[in-house]
């Protein structure tokens, strides 16, 4: 499987995602995501993981949903949200398989995932998107609404529901075993 040509036009996706949406995606494919996504990073993941360990419900139904690994800056007056770009996904690896098992369909972050996560993506038909790291000011423009969902005491790390419009990302790990980072390196490295 090869990385699609850069000229390939982005595929529009609307959340929540179905199995069919996920099955059609291939590593390297640019996408534009519209709909609700949920923010969660280190601290919120730890709490969700502990809640599951105690047999409790999660603060939102993850079935079909996309989690965006982001901790935004405080919202300045006149804005919907502060800077809001992706954080490194690898730190959430250990908390991810149980969420995938419960039907989560996508994650937006940056950087590589563990083998366990990549295997779980195949098993549960889900996808990992890479966002544009370090472009928090630009990406905030694609966010049209913010609603607090849970763990408000965590501040920037709370779970929020974001409405996004045409949010740009690239499929990094698809549910067929494709890995855009590895494929890009294979194409561009000099030996």
């Amino acid at each position: 499987m090869s990385v699609p040509e850069p000229s390939e036009t982005p595929v529009s996706l609307t959340t929540p995602l179905s199995d069919e949406d996920v099955l059609a995606l291939r590593a390297g494919q640019p996408v534009l995501i519209t709909g609700a996504v949920y923010t969660a990073r280190d601290a919120a993941h730890q709490r969700m993981f502990e809640a599951l360990g105690r047999g409790e419900e999660l603060p939102f139904d993850v079935r079909g949903e996309v989690i965006y690994y982001v901790g935004p800056t405080p919202t300045p007056p006149g804005h919907v949200i502060g800077a809001a770009g992706p954080t490194s996904a690898g730190r959430m690896d250990r908390y991810t398989p149980p969420l995938l098992k419960r039907g989560m369909k996508g994650m937006i972050g940056k950087g590589p995932r563990s083998e366990e996560v990549r295997e779980a993506l195949k098993r549960h038909k889900a996808v990992y998107f890479g966002g544009l790291g370090g472009a928090g000011a630009l990406l905030a423009r694609q966010i049209t609404a913010v609603e607090m969902i849970a763990y408000e005491d965590l501040g920037t790390e709370a779970i929020r529901r974001l409405e996004v419009e045409q949010f740009p990302a690239v499929v990094i790990n698809d549910c067929h075993g494709g890995d855009a980072y590895a494929e890009a390196r294979a194409r561009w490295q000099r030996v």
Binding site: T73, G82, A83, A84, A137, L138, A180, W188, R190
Partner: protein
């Protein structure tokens, strides 16, 4: 004797925090523009264009370019003939960080204890590195250090017998392991020699050098050029999408070390190489 008031230091540090997080330094913008022109991968060029657009937007609207507005790492060069009036240097700096992060709508990203993980709520305390120098000048540099690149940094106590090849391998491997997590194109600060802690500190200080300069002596300059070539051969490219530009620059600082030691520290810096400085003369 030069006198500077604590209130003046606080006001300036607050301003430096906000400027560092909203305005990318001109040498970094120039390096990113040059990278965009040199990049052969179309996807890589597009990523670089958007990052430049992001930097313009942040500066124009005075909003943070990245949501990770960092741990404030403050470097102080204080002349022996400088006195701080009406307060203490460290308190004045911490207060400046507190004010700047509040007023600038910057993220509060510091926890009290690495284990209890409770946010301090005001992005303090900063990390302050003070150096006493001759004269009457006071120079303060604020670097907003994000964790994405910091977390992928490494230090190794090598043996002298490992030699230059092992040093190069370690630096390249550090960038490869980091991949897109460090937000490439990165700036790579390399500390070579010194003691354990000095090695890490000079690696960090290397990140403050202008991106277009070259090493402090021919040995460092040569190593910088060779490392940059090795890193840009990895194919990782801008944000890991593949391409020729994985690093904007490699900066090597060396220090004398023990006959038995060869410490190597690699401090990675994301493309948002944010720092701002002020000098009282």
């Amino acid at each position: 004797m030069k006198e500077v008031s604590a209130a003046e230091i606080t006001a300036k540090v607050a301003e430096l925090c906000i400027r560092a997080c909203t305005v990318l330094p001109p040498d970094v913008v120039a390096a990113m523009e040059s990278a965009r022109d040199l990049e052969e991968s179309a996807l890589g060029r597009e990523v670089l264009s958007r990052l430049l657009e992001n930097a313009r937007l942040a500066a124009d609207e005075s909003i943070p370019m990245c949501q990770d507005t960092g741990l404030a790492v403050v470097f102080v060069e204080m002349g022996e003939d400088v006195r701080v009036n009406d307060g203490h240097l460290r308190d004045a700096i911490a207060e400046g960080v507190r004010e700047g992060y509040e007023r600038g709508y910057l993220r509060k990203s510091v926890v009290h204890s690495p284990l209890n993980r409770c946010n301090t709520g005001d992005n303090t305390p900063p990390v302050i590195c003070t150096e006493i120098v001759p004269g009457e000048t006071l120079k303060i540099t604020v670097a907003a250090k994000g964790a994405g690149s910091e977390n992928m940094s490494r230090l190794k106590m090598m043996a002298p017998a490992d030699g230059e090849a092992a040093v190069k391998q370690f630096v390249r491997e550090t960038v490869e392991r980091a991949g897109a997590s460090a937000c490439p194109p990165v700036v790579v600060g390399v500390g070579l020699g010194g003691s354990f802690e000095q090695c890490a500190l000079i690696a960090k200080k290397a990140l403050l050098r202008p991106l277009h300069d070259s090493g402090p002596h021919p040995e460092a300059a040569k190593l910088e050029a060779e490392l940059l070539d090795a890193i840009n051969s990895t194919g990782i490219g801008p944000m890991g999408v593949g391409g020729r530009i994985t690093a904007l620059a490699v900066k090597v600082e060396t220090a004398p070390c023990h006959i038995a030691s060869m410490p190597v520290a690699v401090n990675l810096q994301c493309h948002a190489a944010r720092h701002a400085e002020h000098t009282w003369e």
